[in-house]
């Protein structure tokens, strides 16, 4: 079947059509995902439960579903599917923005310290038994430490009143390794808790509540909105910071603003889901290969493709072994890498030669 995904087929469609098709595909994927899981719920029942949730409309009909069905759809499947959408979008856009700022195709949001900081906060909470916000203690600590590490990296990178990108990248890697060593030490000295820590580090959407979903959605809608507004500045920065300066971009302001919104958005996601790798690295490339063009296209489509990709991965996590859910961080790489390799060989049109 792969031979049908050829250059000509995908390229002859206009960019707007491609985006419209992707949005339709996203909707279908969301809908289809309600039917994947160990308990089978009929299509009609899912529709009924969803309608019952709509404020005014919900009171107008008499519905026939059990409270268990209602719970599975509303408390398990909906938060999982929508959090997959939000987290996928967040990581995808984060990747597109960070790759543009670093002018480097192998960077992702985690390189500025988000992942190691969040892991530190989460592991410290688990290991030290910190309880400041009940069940949300891990979320809060992971979020706070993620931001602490990002800003530490940023301010350590200042040279002559600017933040040179190479310093930022190296400092990000160095600080991340240091913090990861601290995490490893905490885990090492608390063998009893290694299981809990391990599952957090793998990444999972199983435990996400509506409260968490609400918060990460709010933060990430803002982050994606700001990234889209600043996509032209990012285009210019991709052509070199000096160039961007001479065409009228306030380079340092743009960098700190975008790194901040991405750090807030991605940190919030990582705090509730744990570490989900690969999405931030690959999704922007997939978008560049499918749609091409500048950040005006790559950033919004990274949100769409990131969402689709993570929802599908979550579905696969449920479907691989029945009755068991594999951590989604494992699935993203298992499913994503072969797909990405296929796309790279079929569609690159030499964009990555040089």
């Amino acid at each position: 079947m792969f031979k049908y995904i050829t250059e000509r087929h995908i390229l002859t469609i206009g960019t707007k059509t491609k985006i419209a098709l992707s949005l339709i595909f996203l909707l279908l994927v969301i809908l289809a995902s309600f039917f994947i899981g160990s308990v089978k719920i009929p299509f009609y029942t899912v529709m009924e439960i969803m309608i019952s949730q709509v404020p005014v409309l919900g009171g107008m009909f008499h519905f026939h579903f059990t409270s268990i069905q209602h719970e599975i759809v509303v408390l398990l499947r909906e938060p999982q599917i929508f959090s997959a959408l939000v987290i996928g979008a967040s990581l995808g856009v984060g990747g597109a923005v960070i790759q543009s700022i670093f002018k480097n195709p192998i960077t992702e949001p985690y390189v500025i310290g988000i992942s190691s900081g969040a892991a530190f906060g989460a592991v410290a909470t688990i290991v030290l038994g910190i309880d400041i916000l009940g069940i949300y203690s891990i979320d809060l600590m992971a979020f706070v430490f993620s931001l602490v590490v990002v800003y530490l990296v940023y301010f350590l990178s200042f040279r002559h009143g600017k933040v040179p990108i190479v310093y930022l990248l190296l400092m990000g890697i160095a600080v991340s390794l240091f913090v990861s060593a601290l995490v490893a030490f905490m885990v090492f000295s608390n063998v009893r808790l290694q299981g809990d820590v391990f599952f957090w580090l793998m990444g999972s959407l199983q435990q996400i509540t509506w409260t968490e979903l609400g918060i990460i959605t709010a933060v990430n809608v803002l982050a994606i909105f700001v990234s889209i507004i600043y996509s032209r500045e990012l285009d210019a920065i991709q052509l070199g910071e000096e160039y961007a300066h001479t065409v009228g971009v306030n380079v340092e302001f743009t960098k700190i603003l975008l790194i901040s919104v991405i750090a807030f958005g991605v940190s919030a996601c990582v705090a509730v889901s744990g570490l989900i790798g690969f999405v931030g690295l690959i999704v922007p490339h997939v978008c560049r290969l499918i749609y091409g063009g500048t950040n005006r296209i790559v950033i919004p489509t990274s949100a769409i493709i990131g969402g689709i990709f993570l929802i599908l991965s979550e579905d696969a996590a449920h479907a691989f072994i029945s009755g068991e859910v594999i951590p989604i961080g494992i699935v993203t790489s298992l499913v994503g890498v072969p797909f990405f390799m296929l796309l790279l060989s079929r569609l690159s049109r030499g964009s990555y030669d040089a």
Partner: protein, 266 residues
């Protein structure tokens, strides 16, 4: 239009620029010449506002350049850097378009600037697939599209074949005809006569001499700048300066070639 630069100094580590200055009016082409590492590019970056000078003034139309609003500056100063960017999936028109984002240049200008260079066939091509020389020309097209009053060009002739560097030459001339101020760093001492209204000779971050090509380009100043002896011969377009050892009959050059050819013959 008037660009006045006086007493600009700058230092970073061991590298220093000392008391550099230049004056230019509309329609002037100023050449900056000097050895690699003499601070030509740094000086251009300071004029462009990328690096902050430690002292001195840069005035444009009798106003300090820092007094201009952030959004006004891209209309005043543009710069062609030596580095060739490597954006991920941009087409040529995407690349050039970025130069007009913040100055509100109309998108029709993108094609026009490519046409000026005779490369409008590249319009829809992927930037990453172009040859090195084509990429440089596209970056020059961004400068034309940006349409600023002062055009700074950092070694625009380097790495180009004869056809392409002629195109660059023609563009510098046409910018001059459009009454812009062009400041260009270069290594071809003899092109200065045909291109520049004034010249700044630099060495180790300091000025060796400045003035018209007739005043500045002579054996003594060139030897001071490059540390090797120069000779000249007359041509219909004016005197041509070359390192003495390149001239035939002056001993060394011919002896080197003799040595080389001798080896091949054996």
């Amino acid at each position: 239009m008037m660009l006045e630069i006086r007493g600009v100094s700058f230092s970073r580590g061991n590298f220093r620029l000392k008391e550099l200055g230049l004056n230019a009016q509309n329609g002037d082409v100023v050449g900056i010449v000097g050895p690699n590492g003499s601070g030509k590019s740094t000086f251009l970056r300071i004029i462009a506002g990328i690096l902050k000078k430690e002292s001195g003034e840069i005035r444009y139309n009798d106003r300090d350049i820092n007094e201009y609003q952030h959004m006004e500056r891209p209309r005043i100063i543009s710069m062609l850097s030596q580095e060739t960017p490597n954006p991920f999936s941009f087409t040529v028109s995407d690349v050039i378009g970025t130069a007009g984002y913040f100055t509100g240049r109309p998108p029709e200008g993108i094609k026009r600037s490519l046409r000026k260079l005779g490369i409008e066939n590249l319009y829809k091509r992927q930037f990453s697939q172009l040859s090195g020389g084509e990429k440089r020309l596209v970056m020059l097209a961004t400068l034309i599209y940006q349409d600023a009053d002062v055009c700074l060009m950092d070694e625009p002739f380097s790495f180009l074949d004869v056809d392409k560097s002629t195109k660059v030459f023609r563009i510098v001339r046409s910018l001059k005809d459009e009454n812009k101020i062009v400041v260009v760093t270069m290594h071809d001492i003899n092109m200065i006569w045909n291109l520049c209204d004034s010249v700044l000779l630099m060495k180790n971050g300091s000025m060796v001499a400045s003035g018209t090509p007739e005043e500045v380009i002579n054996e003594e100043n060139l030897q001071k700048t490059y540390g090797i002896p120069f000779s000249h011969y007359d041509s219909p377009e004016g005197p041509r300066f070359v390192p003495s050892e390149f001239l035939s009959n002056s001993g060394k050059f011919s002896s080197i070639t003799a040595e080389l050819f001798g080896k091949y013959e054996r």
